[in-house]
Symmetry: C2
Subunit: 122 residues, 2 copies
DNA sequence: GTAACCAGTAACCTTTTAGTAACTATTTAT
DNA sequence: ATAAATAGTTACTAAAAGGTTACTGGTTAC
């Protein structure tokens, strides 16, 4: 096993776990998409709807990120029998497990912003 | 304000917070360095020691990541009066606030790994 | 028939990130 | 004088990530 650190061995496995997580959830849009789908769970979220509402994402990136998330079972893809055809994406139960991580990131980011604002007051 | 999403407005601010966090903690080595310094808090962690023990990191990347972390007050830099001169890096109290995030990422990564292993059994 | 809508794909380009190798400056020991 | 150690820097390169534009194929409304 290739190690990332000298000693203690537990640290190496922690760091591999961190990297695994970031492999699945990293990238510019993945957490955003998960958050989007989680907060709109009751709606029918089609490709076009997602693309319209997540400002700035291109079809290419949305396709790619959704494929990656689907491969990791975070997201379910379903072709709807509509004319013209549309495809619904929804979050899976497994995808919902990312909620805790997202919450921590949001929390920390907000605290960080407040910290910066307070530092600039004098 | 440039928004990332169409409505609800709270979502946009959540997503900005997530991005802020990843700006500070993202990158290949930052979480690894924080984790390293946190688990070796009682030691004198010099540049060379860190470079020797975090396998694979180059001087250039270590310099850069430490500078970034210092700029965000996650890490403290102190020149020691030794011959030859050496520089000690240590985690700050603020840097320690990343612990919760790191723990969540480790936890999720480990659960994800077990999930994959169980799926491949048949 | 033609324009519009959906869900993509393909080719190409730019930016960001990371890696490599050589080098600087200072000090000490041989 | 030279080698070794510390803490970097600089220039160049490669790889990864992301963006842009134009396009496909099927269907419906005009």
């Amino acid at each position: 096993m290739k190690t990332l650190l000298n000693d203690p061995p537990e640290c190496t496995s922690n760091l591999l776990a961190m990297r695994d997580t970031l492999d699945v959830l990293g990238g510019k849009w993945k957490l955003l998409i998960l958050h989007y789908l989680m907060t709109r769970d009751h709606q029918v979220n089609t490709f076009k709807k997602i693309q319209r509402e997540i400002i700035g994402i291109s079809a290419k990136m949305l396709t790619k990120e959704l494929k990656d998330l689907e491969a990791n079972k975070m997201v379910k893809r379903e072709v709807l029998n509509t004319r013209p055809i549309s495809v619904e994406y929804s979050i899976t139960d497994y995808g919902r497990t990312s909620k805790e991580i997202i919450e921590k990131l949001v929390e920390w980011g907000n605290r960080h912003r407040h910290k910066l604002l307070n530092e600039n007051e004098y």
